[in-house]
């Protein structure tokens, strides 16, 4: 492989990894508060449809992007209602949300399959884009990609250095103790669910606005589930999530490239790569026995106080 082939491949890696990164960071926020949300796939696809429809009808990708965030919050709030208000099992609620979200998006999206929407256009960053190799790989993308460069460090700061971030983590570790210390445990869990849902929605928006520019049924194709796996792989740390998301971006970019160059390998086998990699990555993270960073109260509901 020559440099002329590797640089576009790496640039494509960043693009393919971006929606997964948004969703992974979203799930991480939710899980830090002690809530397991397996509805990422459903929330992402609703975000993707919303972004597509808003862009299609208003012509404004920026408006569409924020609409997708709002749609993500709305969809995620169902998980909050079921788990926080009605004490439902978090695993089942997440599964239900995935089934519901996928059904919802395919139901309302059917009439728009194959139509296109105005998306974000690449915008080179002055000066940085001219650096050889680094420039074309990192700094000749659309603005949504640049947003993911600053998001992980911001989240890291949020989790470790702000009052709300620390409160969120405390509630995820030991909600009863946090409540005894005067924190509003359920309020923080709402923050985790809604904040996470916002970024999951953005992940979906990136798919329809920048990645495909059109609407297809089952747009997300398992990326939401990959995000759930990546949170475990990242040991609930934003920095490692970046690494994981680009790993998957790389394998997806490579798979597309191989298909385009007309390799002998059948496409169904190539398409297995990301899913197989997910299993592999999970096995790898379990081997390390470094699960100590997992929020201790993950998946456990807070009993209503009387």
């Amino acid at each position: 492989m020559t440099l002329e082939m590797i640089i576009p491949l790496l640039a494509a890696t960043i693009v393919a990894g971006t929606p997964i990164l948004y969703a992974t960071l979203g799930e991480m926020i939710t899980e830090k508060s002690g809530v397991l949300n397996l509805g990422v796939e459903g929330i992402m696809i609703v975000g993707g449809l919303t972004a597509f429809l808003v862009a299609h009808f208003t012509g404004s990708p920026s408006l569409a992007f924020f609409a997708a965030g709002a749609a993500g919050i709305t969809t995620a709030s169902l998980h909050g209602i079921v788990c926080l208000v009605f004490q439902g099992n978090q695993v089942v609620s997440g599964l239900a949300l995935t089934i519901l979200g996928t059904g919802f998006a395919n139901y309302f999206g059917t009439s728009y399959v194959g139509l296109s929407a105005p998306g974000f256009q690449p915008m080179a960053v002055p000066l940085l884009a001219d650096i050889p190799a680094i420039g074309p790989i990192f700094f000749q993308h659309d603005p949504l990609v640049y947003l993911t460069y600053i998001l992980p460090p911001c989240l890291w700061l949020f989790f470790n250095n702000t009052r709300y971030g620390l409160g969120l983590r405390a509630v995820g570790e030991f909600p009863e103790a946090a409540a005894a210390a005067g924190l509003n445990a359920r309020g923080y869990r709402w923050l985790g669910i809604l904040g996470g849902g916002f970024f999951m929605g953005l992940g979906g928006a990136y798919l329809s606005l920048a990645y495909t520019h059109l609407w297809t049924n089952n747009l997300t194709a398992g990326r939401g589930w990959i995000a759930v796996a990546l949170v475990i792989f990242a040991f609930w740390r934003p920095g490692r999530a970046v690494f994981g998301a680009y790993l998957f971006g790389g394998i997806m970019a490579l798979q597309l490239r191989l298909q385009a160059t007309g390799t002998q390998l059948p496409s169904s086998l190539l398409l297995m790569l990301p899913y197989g990699l997910t299993v592999f990555v999970l096995v790898l993270s379990s081997l390390g026995h470094r699960r100590t960073n997992e929020p201790a109260a993950l998946g456990v509901n807070v009993e209503p106080a009387d």
Binding site: I81, T98, L282
Partner: protein, 354 residues
């Protein structure tokens, strides 16, 4: 404003929990009707068409029964795993592997006598499905790997494997390029009952359902499974081999879903093609959660959700409602029923003003 205190119920609710369940389902149907309105379909007519399409004629009931067969078998396995607090989301993939295993036997030994060949197909389907279920179980038991994601990823892999086979080495040369295997030989096909459209797979369900009930009611392992579902720690203290049970349940679960795959390939479409994957494995999750571990409840719920699928098909034909409507209703029912569990476990007591 009247304020309420939330108190955990000490007593069982009994028949009133049935009322809560029905209210939840009614709410889900109401929300589905709202979804119909949002796409410009008349809601009352739509819901009526749904029910008429599902249970309104002999043909509809037969079709619902045909679809209930694979859902029932997948649910038996998923429900068992749920009971043990193992989240087997992989029935879809185990179903695919079962269909692949059965097809392998059918294509390799087409000339064997019918009872022998069908037994071989069942065996191959159960082994393939069982192995597909065993992998996540062993990963979980040995390494603590999250079985939800592994089973789910293995669904995607299984479906792609199935596509690889029917687009590649198993493709029928006479299919004009359509991805499908040749039609199975007469000996490889599970026949229909009398003049009806329903295949005798329904007898398989009956036998397996009774065996399932006997297993849980009369055997030691069945009792251990039920007991360790309530508390894993208590089970370990009592000397119940929890880790072994996890693997056993996932193998059984996979084998049952594999059996469903066999029946679908052999009895319903008589060959293997990608359209065999219609999401029965995911519907089975909904059924298993709604019906829990009682085979009779599983059978009834499977029939109802199969009916929903048939009803949505006629909605699609008569009123141009997208097929995804069915999945949306399933998701809504699961969410509302899950939330309604709150009223079974807790009660709200009005707080008197001081």
């Amino acid at each position: 404003m009247q304020r309420f205190r939330i108190i955990k119920r000490q007593e069982r609710l009994g028949w009133r929990s049935c009322f809560i369940l029905l209210t939840a389902i009614a709410l889900a149907l109401l929300l589905s009707a709202v979804m119909l309105v949002m796409r410009g379909t008349p809601p009352v007519e739509g819901i009526l068409t749904l029910f008429k399409g599902a249970f309104g004629s002999r043909w509809a009931i037969e079709d619902s029964l045909i679809k209930a067969i694979p859902i029932f078998l997948c649910s038996l396995g998923v429900a068992t795993a749920f009971r043990l607090q193992i989240w087997n989301i992989g029935a879809e993939g185990q179903f695919a592997l079962g269909a692949i295993g059965a097809t392998w036997a059918a294509l390799t030994f087409p000339e064997l006598p019918k009872p022998v060949l069908l037994s071989m197909m069942i065996g191959a389907a159960c082994i393939a499905g069982g192995v597909w279920g065993m992998i996540p179980a062993i990963l979980r038991q040995r390494l603590g790997t999250n079985e939800i994601i592994v089973t789910l990823m293995m669904n995607y892999i299984a479906i792609l494997l199935l596509e690889y086979l029917v687009y590649g080495i198993w493709k029928d040369p006479a299919s004009y390029g359509f991805p499908m295997t040749p039609m199975f030989s007469e000996q490889a096909i599970v026949g229909k009952i009398g003049t009806s459209g329903v295949n005798s797979g329904i007898f398989h369900c009956l036998v397996l359902g009774v065996l399932f009930w006997i297993f849980f009611t009369f055997t030691r392992t069945g009792f251990e499974l039920k007991a360790s579902g309530d508390s894993v720690r208590a089970a370990r203290y009592a000397g119940i081999p929890y880790n072994y049970l996890v693997v056993l349940v996932m193998v059984l679960s996979g084998a049952l879903a594999g059996w469903a795959g066999f029946l679908e390939a052999s009895a319903t479409i008589n060959r293997l093609q990608p359209s065999i994957m219609v999401g029965y494995g995911y519907t089975a999750i909904v059924v298993a959660w709604l019906a829990r571990l009682n085979p009779l409840n599983i059978a009834i719920t499977s029939f109802l959700l199969a009916g929903l699928r048939v009803g949505v098909e006629s909605l699609q034909l008569d009123m141009q409602v997208p097929a995804a409507f069915g999945g949306m209703i399933e998701g809504l029912i699961l969410m509302t029923v899950l939330a309604s569990g709150f009223f079974v476990h807790y009660k709200m007591v009005p707080v008197r003003k001081q």
